[in-house]
């Protein structure tokens, strides 16, 4: 916990600087494309972007410490509101994608590890590579063509008009909008979890205590339980990272599906050089990563007390 805040500040400094290093200025795409540089200078002054960078950063940091992430230049809405709504929207997809990725990926990994080198292992490993390698936005487009255009079973794009603050998964009219983007998002984590699980289980299976257990006459089911428990910490670490990755959204998947999540908002902020919005999103996402990994560390310790002693 003690490291979380300095990490967040460090990330914010880096991202603040990177936005300004990128060519193009804030307001360039907010004002009409034929606005002159002189006009932009006047508007920049109104928004405070003509101050020295260090001063701008300190002003921004002071506001953040008071819970104020500023106002989005492009939308004129509070950044905290924009980011909050986007997070909830991405969470809706993650709530579908993550359990699916975990269950399927874990099952695949365990199955592959139980029969190493056999046909099942090769099929599962191949599928995992497939999931990791296929561009998920391309998969999204294909899913739309098949399930929305060819056979109009699911909507092609957008999110149901769900009430703000609602998860909106528990009725079909909302859920049907989530299925295709959730599948697109889940592909990569499924593949990664499958491969990581396989590697972790194989690693544990090769350890001496497993041989000892077999020598003692324990049945395979009981051995499997021990093996899976010992492999779990590694899997938890991977799952935590994948959760963080999913919460960051996928700019491309969310653009294909016009899903107003964090990825979509991030892409929007980058294209518009919306500095306050970009800083707010990056700061919040970095905090999510920090907290998620902290929780993963705690879970790992709980599952494997040896880590506590280390």
């Amino acid at each position: 916990m003690a490291l979380a805040f300095p990490i967040a500040v460090g990330v914010s400094v880096v991202c603040f600087a990177l936005v300004y290093i990128a060519p193009g200025d804030p307001l360039e795409t907010v004002v009409p494309s034929d606005a002159t540089a002189a006009t932009i200078a006047v508007i920049k002054h109104a928004y405070g972007f003509d101050k020295p960078l260090a001063i701008q950063y300190l002003i921004w940091l002071g506001r953040v410490l008071h819970g104020n992430l500023g106002i989005s230049i492009a939308t004129n809405r509070p950044v905290s509101l924009e980011v909050g709504e986007a997070l909830v929207n991405t969470l809706r997809l993650v709530a579908l994608a993550m359990p699916a990725a975990l269950i399927i990926g874990y099952a695949m990994g365990v199955a592959a590890a139980r029969y190493p080198g056999r046909m099942l292992d090769r099929i599962v490993s191949g599928l995992a590579m497939f999931g990791i390698s296929l561009p998920n936005y391309w998969v999204g487009v294909v899913l739309v063509i098949v399930f929305a255009v060819q056979w109009p079973l699911l909507p092609a794009t957008g999110m149901a008009p769900i009430a703000p603050g609602s998860i909106g998964m528990f009725n079909w009219s909302d859920l049907r909008f989530m299925i295709l983007p959730a599948i697109s998002l889940a592909l990569i984590p499924t593949g990664i979890i499958a491969r990581s699980t396989r590697a972790a289980v194989l690693d544990v299976l090769s350890q001496d205590f497993v041989l000892t257990l077999r020598a003692k006459g324990l049945d395979e089911e009981a051995i499997t339980r021990h093996v899976l428990r010992n492999a779990l910490p590694q899997v938890i670490a991977v799952v935590a990272l994948q959760f963080g990755y999913l919460m960051g959204g996928s700019i491309l998947v969310e653009t294909v599906f016009s899903w107003p999540g964090t990825g979509y908002l991030l892409g929007y902020a980058i294209q518009n050089r919306d500095v306050p919005l970009l800083q707010g999103i990056v700061l919040v996402l970095s905090m999510i990563f920090v907290v998620t990994n902290l929780i993963a560390d705690l879970l790992q310790v709980r599952v494997d007390p040896r880590l506590r002693r280390g």
Binding site: A22, P23, G24, D25, L27, E28, T29, V30, V31, P32, S33, D34, A35, T36, A37, A38, T39, I40, V42, I43, A46, Y47, I73, A74, T75, N76, R77, E82, E85, A86, V141, V144, I145, A148, V149, P152, P155, A156, T157, G158, M159, P161, T255, V256, F257, S258, P260, Y264, L265, Y268, Q271, N272, R273
Partner: protein, 535 residues
């Protein structure tokens, strides 16, 4: 008693009759319901609703001119004639005979804001301060940013009486009505009631336009409903509701239309046009003032040499470019499309690669190394990458050696704004531009006073004859004579080959077969009030 029973039955029957009439009336009104128009826009977000919209002219098209009006508006009723200015909230306007920098606008009477307040001349003065005067309580920087380009010549305004307003310009400017046409007016009553909280205003906008704001789900959907009290009775919307969806990805828009999620999409990409037609969709195109071209560097060679500029124009095979876009363009030989009233008779550099090569050799630039600043995508950039690749191929074939410097849209806009002095190594930039009005079409590209960063003349083109013509144009208040002068200017620009002319966009959109009544104007703006949707 029988009479009591009879009168009671009579009353009952009368009630029943009245009820059935009422129900029939309701049925009639339901039967006249003309559906929901669902539009997939190219915009990456919903346009702002606080007056002058963002998201480019698409914002004006679907939100700005639907929620609000300007003093002077565009005639969007015809597909066969160029769109011209017509009365909006002003019924007429003229320049003060005693001061040709002072415009008098006679306002439309009997108009009310959506909040019920009457529209009066002081509202116009209030709105102009809202956009230009930082010291005024109503000043809003975000709106000032949107309107700034159109008010560069605005000096002051005053309400002469409740129905007459005078607007003074800094310089003599016969084109001022065009500029004021982009300024949308918002209700001072609503703004004051909300204590100038513009975020609140965005959720409760009040204008005089043909639509009322119904709801917005941020980043997802905006709904507009007909304004039954609209002052222009001929343009009271015929559909029940309009739903607007931002869909920046063309594949997404196509899928949404094919799956029935929307019944109208903007700018389908040419690759999907056949698929859409095969599915029964209407693909509608029309000439409109949108020029895809290159602005040239007039400070550093090689385009300082007219022979090189002419060579570049002769090298372009516009028929091939049209084939690349599956027919979705008009071959471009000038800064404005031929349907423009001031097109004139410009020299047209028809495809002639041999002549192009000969000119390059005469100019001593063979091979001729050039660097073009282009974007990977962007509003109005059409199929930027493939089109630029084809242009490169065609120019290289005659003796140019083209290097494409690809950047993102935001960065290219910055290049355009800052001018050639900051980017001397770029020989040309490819930023398409709107040519809706004479200033945007011609003047800002060639006037010495418009050298970037003070204007849009990126390459610092300068020509005394052009500047003299421009001064005449600004001082000519007779429309016919002014059109003749503008035509001369366009012709001069062609003689000088001051751009590489390639294409005019055709504003494609795809509509479901059950969408009726749409007339595609020769304009960036469109009138959707006449559209109906059959079941």
């Amino acid at each position: 008693m029988k009479s009591d029973s009879f009168s009671s039955n009579h009353r009952w029957l009368r009630t029943l009759l009245l009820l059935s009439v009422a129900v029939s009336a309701a049925d009639v009104s339901v039967a006249h319901a003309q559906g929901v128009l669902k539009i997939g826009m190219t915009a990456s977000d919903l346009p702002i609703t606080t007056g002058n919209p963002d998201q480019g002219f698409e914002g004006y098209r679907f939100v700005g001119y639907n929620l609000y009006d300007s003093l002077v508006e565009w005639d969007l009723s015809s597909a066969t004639k160029p769109s011209v200015l017509v009365p909006g909230l002003a019924t007429s306007w003229h320049v003060d005979p005693n001061d040709n920098k002072r415009w008098i606008f006679n306002l439309r009477q009997g108009v009310k804001w959506d909040d019920g307040c009457p529209f009066v001349a002081s509202d116009v003065v209030w709105n102009l301060a809202h956009l230009t005067d930082p010291k005024s309580a109503q000043y809003y920087a975000a709106e000032a940013a949107q309107a700034s380009s159109y008010l560069t010549n605005y000096a002051s305004s005053e309400a002469i009486d409740d129905h007459t307003v005078a607007i003074t310009t800094k310089r003599v400017d016969s084109l001022f009505p065009y500029e004021i046409s982009y300024i949308l007016l918002v209700s001072p009553c609503r703004a004051k009631a909300l204590n100038y909280n513009w975020q609140d205003f965005a959720n409760h906008p009040s204008g005089t336009g043909p639509y009322l704001f119904s709801r917005e789900i941020p980043h997802q959907e905006m709904d507009l409903v007909p304004n039954k009290n609209y002052w222009n009775k001929a343009r009271i919307p015929k559909q029940d509701k309009v739903e607007l969806f931002p869909m920046p990805d063309p594949a997404t828009r196509t899928a949404a239309l094919l799956s029935g999620q929307v019944n109208w999409i903007e700018a389908p990409d040419p690759d999907s046009a056949r698929r859409l037609k095969a599915a029964g969709m209407q693909i509608i195109t029309n000439t409109y003032p949108h020029n895809w071209d290159y602005q040239l560097n007039f400070v550093k060679s090689p385009f300082t040499d007219i022979r090189v500029r002419q060579a570049a124009n002769y090298a372009i095979n516009r028929a091939d470019m049209k084939a690349l876009l599956d027919g979705m363009m008009i071959e471009g030989y000038s800064t404005v499309p031929p349907s423009t009233p001031y097109y004139g008779h410009p020299v047209e550099y028809k495809f002639d690669p041999a002549k192009a090569t000969a000119l390059l050799k005469q100019a001593g630039c063979y091979p001729c190394n050039v660097v073009f600043g282009i974007s990977s995508s962007g509003s109005g950039q059409m199929q930027s990458l493939s089109m630029n690749e084809l242009v490169k191929e065609q120019l290289d074939a005659v003796g140019f050696n083209v290097k494409l410097d690809t950047m993102d849209w935001n960065q290219l806009l910055a290049v355009g704004r800052n001018g050639v002095d900051k980017y001397p190594n770029l020989s040309a930039i490819n930023i398409s531009h709107q040519s809706q009005d004479p200033f945007d079409a011609l003047i800002r590209l060639v006037s010495t006073s418009q050298w970037a960063p003070h204007g849009s003349n990126w390459g610092h083109y300068s020509n005394k004859d052009a500047d003299a013509l421009i001064t005449q144009i600004y001082g000519e208040f007779d429309a016919q004579k002014r059109t003749a002068l503008l035509a001369k200017l366009n012709e001069l620009m062609n003689v000088q080959a001051m751009q590489i002319f390639v294409a005019y966009d055709v504003n494609p959109r795809a509509l479901s077969p059950n969408v009726h009544g749409f007339v595609q104007a020769q304009s960036w703006f469109q009138d959707i009030t006449s559209v109906t949707i059959s079941p």
